[in-house]
Amino acid sequence: MNLIKRLMHRCRRKSPFLFHLNTGSCNGCDIELVTCLSPRYDVEQLGIHLEGSPRHADILCITGPVTRNTLEAVKTVYSQVCEPKAVVALGSCPASCNVFAGSPVIAGPLSKHIPVDVYVPGCPPHPDAMIEGIARAAQILASRGVSARAKGEPQR
C-alpha cells in the first residue's frame, strides 16, 4: 500500500497537466506562459503539458485581475478540474488586482473566490519564475493527493 502511495506521489509530481484561464489579463502573462512551451524553456521535460479541457487538467493557471464578466467562468472552470488539483496565480493581477485595484468592474483578487496555492508575482513574471511556481504547485498537488487518500475522504 505504501508502495502504491509513493508511486502515485511520484507520478502526480512528474505529470502536471495545465489549464490556462485568462480572466481579463492584458495578455502579457499569457504570452510569457506560452513562452515556457518554446524550445528555450521547454517545460515538456518536466512532464508539463498544456491541455485544452479543464477536465484533463491538474493545475489551473489563472492570469488577469478577475473581471466581473469572468467571475462565473472562473468558478465553473475551477469546479470542472478534478481532484486533486492546485491553482497557480500568474502575475500581479490575480494576487492584488495590480493597477486595476478599486475599479468597479473588477471582482478580484482571485483568493476572494477560489483557494490559491502558489502566487507568481510580476508584471509579467519571468518564464523561469512561472516554471518554478508550476513545479512547486506540482509538489503541493502530489502531497495533497496522498494526504486526502490517507484521511479517507469520500469519492466525489
Binding site: 512528474k14 505529470s15 515538456e44 481532484e83
Partner: protein, 303 residues
Amino acid sequence: MNVSGLIHFFLFPGLLFAVPAGWFYVWGERKAVARMQRRIGPPLLQPFYDFVKLLGKRTPSRHGIEADLLRLWPALSVLSMIGAIAMLPVFPSGRGFSGDAVLLVALLELPSICFILAGFTSGSIYGEIGAIREAVLSVANNLVFLLSIVTIAVTERTFRLSDMAGGSWNPGHWIGVFGILLCIPAKLRLNPFSTSSAEQEIYSGPLTEYAGAALAMWELAHGLEWVALTGFVATLVVPASGPWWFHALFFVVASFAQVMLLSTIAAATARFTLQRAIRFYWRWAAVLAVLVVCSTIYMRYRW
C-alpha cells in the same frame, strides 16, 4: 484456444509486450518531435507517469446509461486493439490466433468507431464536432486502406494473415504496403490529419468530457493503436525465413522505424483542413489505389 494462442494474447505480441511498447512508441514520437524542434523532450517514463496519475484522479460522478456508455467505449477500444495485436503473424511460420485480414480490419476500425461514439455520447459540442470530423476522415482513409489490403490479398491470392505476411518480391505487395503507410497518420490522428482532435479549435475533440481512469484508458488505447498499425506493416515486410528471435527483433525494429518516420512527418507538416484531407485521400491516393487493384487483378487472371 491452444497454448500458443494464449501466449500470443497475453505475452508476445499481446498484453505484456504491447502495453509497454505502446508507451514507448508514444514517448518516441513525443521525444522525436521535441528533438526536431531543438527541445529536450519528456523523460522515458512520461506516458507511464501520465497513465498512473490519471488513474488516481477523482472523476465527477455520472449516472444512467450515458455514464456506462462513456466507460464502455475506451474499454472496447483497448480490448479490440489487444485482440488485433494478438492476431498479428509476428512469426510467419508459427501458429497464433489464426485469423484472416477481414477480422483484423474490423478490430483495427473499432477504436475509431468508439472515438466517434464517445464524442456523440459526451453531449459536448466540441465532442460532436470532433466526432463528425473523425467520421468523415475515417470514411476517406478507409477507402485507400481497404483497397491496399485487397491489393495485397489479390497479389498473394489469400486473405489469411499468416500467408499475406512476409515480404514477397511482387510489386503489388509493396504498393499495398505503401498504401497502408499512407493511411496510418490519419488512423493515429497525427499531423497533418489531426483535425478530429485539433486542440486549438475544438479543445480535445471527442475526449473533452473525459477525465481520470476513462481518459487513461483512451491514452492506453492510443498507444496500442500505434503498436497494432506499425506492427501490421512490420509483419507484411518481414523476411519469411529466419529464426524466431530474428522475427521478434525485426518486428520491434521495423515498428520503431515507422514511429520515427511518422513523427518526422508529424513535426514537418501543419494540420490539413477536413476538405484537404479528404481531397488527399480521395483524389490522389484512391485513384492510385483503384489503378493498382485493377492492374493486380488483370495480372492475376492473365497468368
